[in-house]
Symmetry: C2
Subunit: 258 residues, 2 copies
């Protein structure tokens, strides 16, 4: 019989943000196909003798095209091997997990899906930007910022530029100037708070905040590189207040007052 | 010194969908304030002697108003006790975590935030509805379906009714007929696939699929009750194909071919 394929979301990077279910799947894995955006610390949960196959995709150079990844996954499962298909974030949010699940279903190969935290959630908690807030955003929009057609970026600007919502764009750093210009052209004020979060939840995470008007220049100044999220909306303005300060305050307070 | 407050997202319900970080926080907790939507199995990770305070809110009857929850949390933290503030889903997505974090920051109380899977992610993986898919949705919109002003539901219908996106509405079951009517009135075809997912990821989860035109009647027929999600968009049409079938297929195949 074909092997079971487990599509697992590896979360935003910090291995402590894996779900219990994902950790169990990792610990039981014999063969894993993993992507570029899976952080090395996540792979530490694998048994030492598990076979690891890197099929990673970067936005600029695709190590294996999607069709080849699917073909390899089907071939391994058909040979009877259980396959752990490990993706950064949540496989059903910009992870092309839907396409891989369709291929498995069409081939009659059994599969299960383990959701993972998507980068926006990791970034929100880590840098202190709530994704919704009654005073600022009653909706959250997640979209990608890298799909082009002949006229430029293929994005629904009127929708993305609505007021009173939080927009988080994945894979948009290379197109940041065009994204900010279009959001302003479609009605968002230039002083709308906006942030870049680079390598969310990892030890070298960086967060740069500004406005739609000045974020492209700030990105250049700070040399922001993918993977990074673009976060737009009033909630970004809360960051100065909400940056988690547990470690910063705990130690001195305890020392001073004990 | 004040106690540390840890705002933890308990995920959609299945305790295996907790993050490692959340499990560690639960296992170390001495005092927990928890909401209505936290599933009992999640509380099983608490030490037996942890103090448990139910502050739950249901959409119709608020056990404690939000201001009282915040006041209680501040009082306990100021008394020096470490507080685990446990919320269903992700506290920064419709969890009012932002408001609670603001109150903590304003009071000078140290806090950290642990993100959790939001119900839409749990439902997607569990019932087989990817939240994005290149052929159907290049954006994901999460919104709530229960805020009213004098003119009816206070929702951004033109944004919610855009094509080529997935919309997931939280807390909207009571308003399902109005929601479906407005989405159609604002341009979505009546045959747009739509689903209700009741108690996502829990053992008694139910998923009912139909279209914007017939979902209100189906909800009545099946007696769908909150908490339930409304999912709208082409991706819902993939469910028939993508319902995870591991358990269903594994056993018979193994028996037949071994």
């Amino acid at each position: 019989p074909p092997g079971l394929v487990t599509l697992v979301g590896a979360g935003p990077g910090d291995p402590e943000l894996l779900t219990l279910k994902a950790v169990k799947a990792l610990q039981a894995a014999k063969l894993v196909l993993y992507d570029h955006l899976v952080s090395p610390a996540v792979l530490d949960f694998l048994p030492p003798d598990a076979d690891r196959v890197y099929v990673g995709k970067e936005s600029s150079r695709h190590t294996l095209p999607q069709a080849s990844i699917i073909e390899l996954m089907l071939r391994l499962a058909r040979s009877g091997r259980a396959v752990l298909r490990l993706k950064g974030g949540d496989g059903y949010i910009f992870g092309r997990g839907g396409e891989e699940a369709q291929a498995l279903a069409a081939a009659g190969i059994p599969f299960t899906v383990v959701p993972g935290l998507t980068a926006a959630q990791g970034a929100a908690a880590s840098v202190g930007i709530p994704l919704t807030h009654r005073d600022h955003a009653c909706a959250l929009v997640l979209a990608t910022g890298h799909t082009r057609d002949e006229r430029g970026l293929d994005m629904d600007w009127p929708m993305l530029a609505r007021p009173r919502q939080t927009v988080v764009l994945y894979m948009g750093v290379h197109n940041l100037p065009e994204i900010c210009r279009q959001l302003i052209a479609h009605g968002l004020p230039g002083d709308t708070p906006a942030a870049l979060v680079e390598r969310a939840t990892l030890p070298d995470e960086r967060c740069i905040t500004g406005t739609l008007a000045d974020l492209p220049q700030l990105a250049l100044t700070h040399g922001v590189k993918p993977p990074a999220l673009i976060m737009v909306g009033g909630v970004v303005g809360l960051r100065a207040q909400l940056t988690p300060r547990a470690t910063r305050q705990q130690a001195p307070l305890a020392t001073a007052l004990d």
